[in-house]
């Protein structure tokens, strides 16, 4: 059974009764879909990503995974592993005391990919598939570059055998040259593994490359939503027009 996330008029806030940080989102994500969440800092992109992941429960509308609200999905359910997250900052999202190999092994083991030995073997394969050199696998994050750390973050997400990956600004902290390597890696996940991708970014250029559909978010509202080509060629909202003008594409 594949994984399907559906948001219906969904919204979230960070405290009961507080103003909604994101509102009125209607969205379906499945394996094979590629969706961009575009907007400026503070617009609610990451809040929406957390809502889709089940890290936040909706204060408005609903977010369901295979028809069940995230709040009713048991902690032991394999569905949690089927939706994985890649963090914005590869410098702070890894345990500084664990090697890359250990971090990915732990993820594989926790998500039921077999014994510790099998999980370690899988971790080695996944890290190699992301292009990480064998000696870097055995290093702690402190001695690795941003690109190498982001590869570990991606391998850690893959270790759960996900159907959907939510990537929160995965290249914004990286050089142009390293950005190209990580974007290619995300592209290969879509093409080779059929993984559904939700890409959070303030950069329409990056979103244009990897997604076919995007939501433009401004101040908590989805101001425009549609096929990426449509948004780029015929933006109707002022904020989308500004984003298109600012994009270096």
């Amino acid at each position: 059974m594949t994984t399907r996330i559906e948001a219906i008029n969904a919204g979230a806030s960070y405290a009961p009764g507080a103003p909604l940080t994101i509102r009125g989102v209607n969205l379906v994500i499945e394996p094979g879909s590629a969706i961009g969440l575009v907007g400026e800092s503070g617009s609610g992109k990451t809040t929406l990503a957390r809502l889709l992941l089940g890290g936040l429960h909706p204060a408005q509308g609903s977010v369901t995974v295979n028809g069940t609200p995230w709040a009713k999905v048991k902690r032991s359910s394999p569905l949690h592993g089927k939706v994985q997250y890649i963090f914005q900052d590869p410098y702070s999202s890894l345990n500084p005391y664990m090697t890359g190999l250990d971090a990915v092994t732990e993820s594989a083991f926790v998500h039921g990919q077999g014994s510790k030995a099998k999980a370690r073997e899988l971790a080695r394969e996944l890290l190699a598939s992301t292009g990480l050199a064998p000696d870097a696998m055995q290093s702690r994050p402190g001695s690795l570059s941003g690109g190498q750390r982001q590869r570990i973050g991606i391998a850690r997400a893959l270790a759960a055998d996900p159907d959907i990956i939510i990537a929160d600004e995965p290249t914004s902290a990286l050089d142009v040259s390293v950005q190209a390597q990580i974007l290619n890696l995300l592209l290969s996940l879509q093409v080779d593994r059929g993984i559904g991708l939700v890409l959070v970014s303030h950069d329409l250029g990056v979103v244009r490359l990897l997604t076919d559909h995007a939501l433009v978010i401004y101040n908590g509202d989805v101001v425009e939503q549609g096929p990426i080509d449509e948004l780029l060629n015929n933006p109707t909202e002022d904020y989308t027009k500004l984003l298109v003008e600012s994009a270096l594409i």
Partner: protein, 332 residues
């Protein structure tokens, strides 16, 4: 993005850096850096992390001693004066007054427990003692197109957005009426729309005040939007310099060519981007011959034995590569 509408700069060089080599501790982090900034013009210094862009900026602003660094060869000439051997007292007469400096991660450079107005007034008293600090602080914030100036002077840094804090940093750098503004990655970590507004602001200020700009960035597409000339650095060496339009469309160095090909703007949807193989060198180890040769797709046996000299390949366009002609031909 189109090139900014800026009046033609005069050709008098304000800053000239020639064959600069810098050592930090026992490591030579810059080995051969050359560029110049004309009066009223904008130069972008581009390269990957670790290429020496920020160290070059620090050398130009006289800030190497704070990193434990020193100039071991070459020269830094500002307004006709050789600054390579300048004392810290001589630098303090230039830095802030003649050369404004916006450091990398400037958002974290503001004092978190001091109101913006107080930070501006403190700097104004130091760099522009004849001015009235209160009115000058507001004037500087207006210069950087800050809205609601009265609220901003009363605010602490955490009460401002990233773009507003960056505008405050620019205002601080302008306090001493500098002739040259050096900005180290001024838009990194900012949103695309804010990036654009900050670069437009720098271009407008340059036009209004007749300033020169030296801006470090790792993004060639961004450099295109504000600079007339680009310098590309790799592993502590200037590998290519030239007018922006020429360099972006007729790159002569394989490294520049690879950086251009790796841009998101150069890729088609659903198609892999061209990737620069390998990773940047550690300054503690450099190969014999050309530094870029281990990653270069044009490398020939000569490249691993000799340092390629910087040679002219066009008007105002130089490249330090034995294969420049082949690269130019491929990019024609």
């Amino acid at each position: 993005m189109t090139m900014p509408d800026v009046a033609s700069p005069s050709r008098e060089p304000l800053l000239r850096v020639e064959h600069l080599a810098v050592r930090i501790g026992t490591v030579e982090v810059l080995t051969d850096v050359s560029f110049s900034v004309d009066k009223g013009s904008a130069l972008a210094v581009v390269g990957e992390t670790g290429s020496g862009k920020s160290i070059s900026c620090r050398a130009v602003a006289g800030l190497l001693p704070r990193l434990g660094g020193r100039i071991v060869r070459g020269s830094v000439t500002f307004c006709g004066q050789d600054m390579a051997g300048a004392t810290s007292r001589e630098w303090s007469r230039i830095r802030g007054r003649k050369i404004g400096f916006i450091p990398q991660a400037s958002i974290a450079s503001l004092d978190p427990v001091m109101r913006i107005g107080a930070q501006l007034r403190e700097t104004i008293k130091l760099l522009d003692p004849d001015a009235d600090p209160v009115s000058r602080a507001k004037e500087l914030l207006q210069d950087v197109r800050m809205h609601d100036v009265d609220r901003v002077v009363q605010s602490y840094p955490h009460q401002l957005s990233g773009g507003m804090r960056q505008r405050v940093m620019i205002a601080l750098a302008l306090a001493g009426h500098p002739d040259l503004l050096v900005a180290d990655e001024p838009t990194t970590a900012l949103d695309a729309t804010v990036q654009r507004s900050i670069l437009e602001l720098l271009t407008k200020l340059r036009k209004e005040k007749g300033m020169s700009l030296l801006v470090v960035t790792h993004d060639l597409s961004l450099a295109e939007s504000f600079a007339e000339e680009i310098v590309v650095m790799y592993s502590g060496v200037t590998v290519e310099r030239g007018p922006t339009k020429v360099l972006l469309h007729k790159a002569a160095h394989p490294y520049t060519s690879a950086l251009l090909a790796a841009r998101v703007a150069a890729a088609r949807r659903g198609q892999p981007l061209q990737v620069l193989p390998g990773s940047p060198l550690s300054p503690a180890w450099r190969p014999v011959g050309c530094n870029f040769q281990p990653r270069c797709t044009y490398a020939e046996p000569d490249c691993a034995t000799e340092d390629p000299p910087s040679e002219t390949v066009g008007v105002g366009h130089t490249s330090a590569c034995f294969q420049s002609e082949a690269v130019l031909k491929a990019n024609a």
